[in-house]
């Protein structure tokens, strides 16, 4: 087949052109064909079947467990596909610990395995490792995380089979030795791809060109923010012990986590790989052409000095093999792979160019899964696995800057096997987005965490005095891990808010207006809730995918008959913007204006909020005069402020919007007026965790994902609007059927660990039956902690989790697994009933 197609000339038109013949491109063409697309053309600048990309020299092993659910599910799906293709060899894999800190981390991996559905993992002793890896010096390690289902694949063969299947379906022509040189875009849509062998018009173009992807995206004016980076690997052998090795691999792979290395048998040799060296970053332009490359364009000459320490560490762990003078280095490379600033792949339609799709920064272990997900997304509109963490639309402008990419990938590289705390902050490229309050916050000792570039106070050292005031009610934590990136001041701020009032910097909100004669139609189509409401109404609404899962949850203010202001979380804001943009009519009768950096927001909540604001305005702020769920302009001194009476923390209060340059003035006015009423500045720790969890409010990306529906999340309304909206058919069905899982709030009954220390879960841990059994709902989804945090007003640590109906009962006793131990928990509320102020009297006061 490929012989014929490489002889025939390039067609002038195709439905879709897939650029790249690595594992990712091959998976995509297969799945597009499988889902019924025809007239597909695949192009690679190198020759098939191994055109010179990263796939050709990968170590090709797969460990399924990752702390990211999305990553684990994509990997598990890929393993299934590799098995079906007949190119998977199961060999087992150990992640070994040299330190006690790592042992704790391995227990955390165990939790992730349980939460995401990796069934066969267990923690083992050094002796058990030795049994299966007899050449290891087991005295160097304390234990290991063992997964028997770990395996290696033949990714070139697997890719070839997928490509050939697409060809056999009559869906695909593949062209090797054909280089894409540029692309044409017309009216914001991809029009054609220009290669050295001719031009092809196409409705869809997919960039699956691995570490070259930024260059390809730039051809169309789009951005794929990744960098080519070196991963060093050497293959030593022949190893006497492996002399009679029959297959590719007979011994489990060892990941030496604390040294950022791995050792994997490869036939008669042993591959030793490292993520420990300095970050060696290139640009796509640095990569040589196939003709220029000494080995291949993605194999740079090995730089031994970067591996010197690794030689010694490998020798320490596997002296029998690595210390054998007769075992030589057969092959050593600085292999090139792709790194992204946040470590996740870059998948989906580019926000800049319609019809131009990306599937980049995808590893062999994710290739087939991403290929399938992307094809589903293109053909069916959404993928079965929620890909929001990989969505290319997630990037904010500053995250596309080369500087950002280089800084963050350099920082992230050595954390490839690192122990990364769930709240861990980046230290590079900070202070790139500053709110108008930044200097004031800094003066108050704000501890800043970063969200999509914004520096946000998580708590204020200036509130330290409140610790004494509230005493043990701040629920102090002693364990270092539990209290890393955390402070009891958060809980003190929370209690002060509940007692008087707190001011929260919400500048990181993404804000965009939908305007024009068709604006109502657009928001009506996006939102589950009725949007044809009176001007001045604020609507909190789920945004659904076609299958009725959560694409987002956000608030929309109707500011005029033809103007709707969408306010959503910064983290997911750009993807939300793309979602709405995609719903715009083609006739230009509605537009989207991104106002994220035009407006800043301060939230003020607490029983004294009204008193404080009333001192600043003559406008009627009474409950009747300014009802909950409404917004309007009020005057505060020199400022005209858009005030919106909603709450994400469960207290009376308003969000106050002013133009960015007026923010500082607003801050000063409110802080001054608040002084006599006990107003404090409070951080995002209160807003995002404690206040929210006491009220069982959901957060996108935690509780809300496309894998769960509105009924399961307990967010259905009694009446449904008559108008159409995306996901309505599915939602109607969900309303009819019994939910497979129900979102519940649980409280921890006893925090005491075996060592007697009180421990506090941080989220993503598995919820188990009292005897430690896994809880799975009828759709195969595990029960795990979607969010965790203190509920200081209740004196409890709260865990949110979806539970199957038989467990979703108030008073139900279960356990949570945290770092290898089980702690008793009780279901405290089912569905959306808040734990604190269940009747919402505070908000409605």
């Amino acid at each position: 087949m490929s012989a014929q197609s490489s002889q025939s000339s390039l067609p002038s038109r195709a439905k879709a052109v897939v650029i790249g013949g690595g594992i990712v491109g091959n998976s995509i063409v297969y799945h597009l064909a499988r889902l019924g697309w025809r007239d597909l053309v695949q192009i690679d600048k190198g020759p098939f079947p191994n055109p010179g990309g990263s796939t050709g020299h990968a170590s090709n092993f797969i460990f399924p467990t990752d702390h990211s659910k999305e990553m684990t599910h994509i990997t598990l799906d890929s393993m299934k596909q590799y098995k079906e293709l007949g190119v998977f060899t199961e060999c087992g894999g150990f992640e070994v610990a040299r330190t006690s800190e790592r042992m704790q981390e391995l227990h955390r991996r165990m939790s992730s395995a349980k939460s995401w559905g990796v069934n066969d993992s267990r923690i083992v002793t050094p002796a058990e490792v030795k049994e299966l890896v007899p050449y290891i010096d087991e005295t160097v390690i304390l234990g290991a995380f063992y997964t028997p289902s770990v395996g290696v694949v033949d990714s070139v063969r697997g890719g070839t089979i997928m490509r050939e299947r697409a060809q056999e379906m009559g869906a695909l022509q593949s062209f090797g030795n054909t280089e894409v040189l540029s692309m044409k875009v017309e009216n914001g849509r991809i029009k054609s791809v220009i290669t050295d062998k001719g031009e092809i018009e196409a409705d869809f173009v997919v960039i699956a060109t691995g570490c070259w992807s930024p260059k390809l995206a730039a051809m169309a004016g789009a951005s794929i923010p990744l960098t080519p980076a070196v991963h060093q690997m050497k293959d030593i052998g022949p190893v006497p012990r492996f002399k009679d090795a029959k297959g590719d691999i007979e011994h489990p792979i060892v990941r030496d986590m604390d040294t950022n290395m791995y050792e994997r048998q490869h036939g008669s040799g042993l591959e030793v790989g490292s993520y420990a060296h300095r970050a060696i970053l290139y640009t796509p332009e640095d990569l040589p052409s196939n003709a220029q490359a000494a080995l291949s364009p993605t194999e740079f000459p090995f730089t031994q000095e970067d591996f010197d320490l690794q030689d010694e560490q490998a020798l320490e762990l596997m002296p029998e093999i690595v210390g054998d003078e007769s075992v030589g280095e057969k092959y050593a490379i600085n292999g090139i792979l792709s790194l992204t600033p946040d470590g996740m792949p870059i998948v989906g339609e580019t926000p800049e160019v319609k019809g131009l799709w990306s599937a980049a920064a995808v590893w062999v272990k994710e290739g087939p899964g991403v290929g399938k997900a992307l094809a589903e997304w293109m053909v069916l509109g959404e993928s079965e696995i929620d890909m929001h963490s990989s969505d290319i639309a997630r990037f904010h402008e500053h995250q596309k800057a080369t500087f950002h990419i280089k800084e963050r990938t350099a920082e992230g590289f050595n954390k490839t096997y690192g122990i990364v705390h769930p709240a861990e902050q980046w230290s590079s490229n900070r202070d790139v987005r500053l709110s108008p309050y930044y200097e004031r916050e800094k003066a108050l000792g704000a501890v800043f965490f970063e969200t999509v570039g914004w520096e946000r106070p998580f708590w204020y050292e200036s509130n330290k005095d409140l610790l004494a005031k509230f005493g043990d009610a701040v629920m102090p934590r002693t364990a270092e891990w539990d209290s890393r990136w955390w402070s009891p001041i958060i809980n003190a701020e929370h209690l002060q808010m509940r007692e008087s009032a707190a001011l929260v910097d919400l500048t990181a909100f993404a804000i965009f207006d939908v305007t024009g004669p068709s604006a109502l139609d657009v928001v009506q189509r996006a939102a589950v809730r009725q949007m044809d409401v009176a001007i001045g109404k604020v609507i909190y609404t789920p945004i659904l995918s076609e299958s009725g899962g959560f694409k987002s949850d956000l608030t929309i203010m109707r500011l005029a008959h033809d103007q709707f202001r969408v306010v959503t979380g910064g983290a997911h804001g750009m993807a939300d913007k793309k979602w709405f943009s995609d719903l715009l009519p083609t006739d230009g009768s509605a537009q989207i204006n991104d106002l994220t950096t035009a407006y800043t927001t301060l939230g003020i909540w607490g029983p004294n909020a009204r008193k404080i604001l009333s001192a600043l305005t003559k406008d009627d702020l009474s409950h009747e005069g300014f009802p909950f769920g409404t917004c309007r302009i009020i005057e505060m001194g020199p400022l005209r402020v858009l005030a919106s009476r909603i709450s994400y923390v469960g207290d009376l209060g308003w969000e106050l919007y002013v133009q960015m340059e007026q923010g500082a003035k607003l801050w000063d006015l409110v802080m001054d007026a608040g002084k006599p009423h006990g107003l404090i500045p409070a951080g995002i720790g209160v807003y995002g965790t404690t206040g929210r969890l006491e009220k069982s409010y959901r957060a996108y990306g935690a509780e809300l994902e496309t894998e769960y529906n509105v009924v399961e999340a307990g967010m259905q309304t009694a009446k449904l609007k008559a108008q159409e909206f995306v996901g309505k058919a599915a939602h109607l069905k969900h309303r009819e059927e019994d939910p497979a899982a129900i979102l519940c709030s649980l409280t921890v009954d006893d925090h005491t660990s075996k060592s007697g220390e009180k421990r506090y879960m941080l989220g993503r841990e598995p919820i188990l039956t009292p005897d430690g059994g896994i809880i799975t709902d009828s759709h195969g989804r595990r029960s795990y902690v979607t969010s965790a945090g203190s509920a200081p007003s209740l004196g409890k640590h709260v865990l949110i989790s979806y539970l199957p109906p038989q467990h979703a009962k108030i008073g139900e006793k279960l356990v949570v697994e945290y770092l290898g131990e089980h702690y008793p928990v009780t279901v405290a509320s089912v569905s959306s009933t808040p734990l604190f102020d269940a009747k919402n009297e505070r908000i409605m006061s």
Binding site: S289, P301, G323, G328
Partner: protein
């Protein structure tokens, strides 16, 4: 038996490469360096002599101090020490190179029994350095050696000349220039590398004398595409393959 092996780091390039702006040199921005296979064979031959007769092997290179990487790699398979005649990395003409090496050898306490060069350097192919050094030191030289056996201080050297083999015997001390095939180089082992890191390496800066010959310009030959051509996916490929075998003389 004490052996000196003179080696040179060269560019590791693919089928094509780029030239610098005035076309006087290769653009090395994204290229790596290596030792050519016949010089690796030279080191292997030296190490085997040590294994057979004891003694030491010293490596010598004239070039950029970054050549340390290639030197250490070679020391990983056995050589005991290295001398780097440090330059700024620019190309020296063969006479200048030979003179610097001659000076260095004269300063050495060790009286080398065998001095081995590659028959030519892989990048500039001057074929001169070894001969110049032998001449200056008054030593016999056998060039293009493909096989070596030493007995009673006499080296039996095999040269390939066209289809024929010539055998020379030369009393040591002597200079040999060798081709690959003289000894298949072993791969460095990890413990070898670790040891190599601690082996002595003397670095002596050397001044580049005024060039007596000058490279005027480089011109790139037309590019020949790398990569496989698929003859056929069907049985008719066998016939095509036979034709090609005939063309290249594998079949007659």
């Amino acid at each position: 038996m004490d052996v000196l092996v003179c080696i040179k780091r060269v560019i590791l390039a693919g089928n094509t490469f780029a030239l610098n702006e005035d076309h006087t040199d290769i653009d090395t921005l994204h290229l790596g360096y290596t030792l050519s296979p016949h010089e690796e064979s030279a080191v292997e031959a030296a190490v085997r002599l040590n294994e057979e007769f004891g003694g030491t092997t010293t490596l010598l290179t004239l070039g950029h101090v970054d050549s340390e990487e290639q030197i250490r790699s070679q020391m990983a398979i056995g050589p005991d020490r290295a001398i780097v005649l440090e330059t700024d990395g620019s190309e020296w003409d063969p006479q200048a190179t030979a003179n610097a090496i001659i000076d260095a050898i004269k300063k050495e306490e060790t009286k080398f029994d065998v001095i081995i060069f590659g028959s030519e350097s892989a990048d500039t192919a001057g074929y001169q350095t070894g001969i110049r050094v032998a001449h200056a030191l008054g030593l016999p030289i056998v060039t293009n050696v493909k096989g070596l056996k030493v007995e009673n201080s006499v080296a039996r050297c095999e040269r390939a000349v066209g289809n024929m083999r010539e055998i020379y015997e030369v009393s040591l001390p002597a200079v040999l220039t060798v081709r690959d095939g003289i000894a298949i180089p072993r791969y460095p082992s990890v413990p070898g590398r670790i040891k190599a890191r601690k082996k002595p390496m003397d670095v002596f800066p050397v001044e580049k004398p005024a060039a007596k010959i000058e490279k005027v310009k480089l011109e790139l030959p037309p590019v020949k595409a790398k990569g496989a051509t698929m003859l056929s996916a069907d049985a008719d490929g066998a016939q095509k393959l036979v034709e090609i075998f005939r063309e290249i003389g594998v079949l007659s």
